[in-house]
């Protein structure tokens, strides 16, 4: 599999990732996989009725994309806490970039708990931002 056991210092940047443009098919797949069939994510008429210019991506899909930042380190630890506010709409065609920065570390009985600020942006607009605590096992 992947990376060595990670350590971070406050201020360290996670390697940012730019994803392929969001597609309607992806939203349909995510709706099926998550069983979130709110039609504002897949049906134009429903989006219009809700006052939106078109279908929007699920906030939880954007958040899952932020989770990609930590996927390379799962052999050594796991996401203990994940929090984000959704501050902008994501539409089909939008290209998201996710990134994050370490803000601190704390020794716990389970291992070292690292704190991060994280975000998802489309160009310069932040569409989601929040924090992640990632636990790296002590042994």
């Amino acid at each position: 599999m992947s990376a060595a056991k990670p350590t971070w210092q406050a201020g360290d940047e996670l390697e940012s990732r730019t994803l392929p443009p969001v597609t309607r098919l992806q939203l349909i797949k995510y709706a099926g996989a998550s069983e979130d069939y709110n039609p504002i994510h897949t049906v134009d008429e429903a989006a219009a009725e809700a006052g939106l210019p078109g279908v929007i991506a699920h906030g939880m899909l954007t958040l899952a994309t932020i989770g990609l930042l930590f996927s390379p380190y799962l052999e050594h630890g796991y996401v203990k806490e994940l929090q984000a506010r959704f501050s902008g709409m994501v539409y089909p065609g939008d290209e998201l970039t996710v990134g994050g920065r370490a803000t601190g570390a704390e020794e716990t009985t389970e291992g070292c708990l690292y704190a991060f600020d994280v975000h998802a942006k489309k160009e310069e607009d932040t569409v989601a931002s929040g924090t992640v605590n990632f636990l790296v096992f002590g042994d």
Binding site: M1, L19, Q26, K29, Y30, G32, A33, S34, E35, D36, N38, I40, E49, A50, G51, H58, G59, M60, L61, L63, A64, T65, G67, L68, F70, S71, L74, E75, Y78, V79, K80, E81, L82, Q83, A84, R85, F86, G130, F137
Partner: protein, 150 residues
Amino acid sequence: MPFERFVGERSEAISNVVEKGAVRKFAEAIGDPNPLYVDEAAAKQSRYGGLIAPPTFPRTFEYGEIEGMGPPGQGLIHGEHRIRYERPLFVGEEVLCYAEVKDYYEREGREGALGFLISERVGESSEGERIFTMLDTAILTPAMRESLGL
């Protein structure tokens, strides 16, 4: 204040199973086919001893319905999400899930009053040990209020 009367209401717990196929489909949909999510042989050799689920996977579970409301937040815009794990979530395990309405309030927005519905969702093992706690903020827009007939 359409949802205020539901504050404090809790659903009956529902049994969910973290299914291998569901996790694989989910991992593919979010573009994260990590071997620890999808490759049983690789996961067996890891410290987890088996497959685990992605951190946002618990939103796929059923948490039961609040009487008169259904699943809290359904059909609304998702404003904020928080999840805290006590330990990783394993593929194959049973999770007992329930939801509780924590708060509802309104704020004046540019185009009318916005409603904010705060709900908590909890997942416990079959032994009653807590695995995760989620807190969600769902937003009710004026247009949605109209289309829901509120």
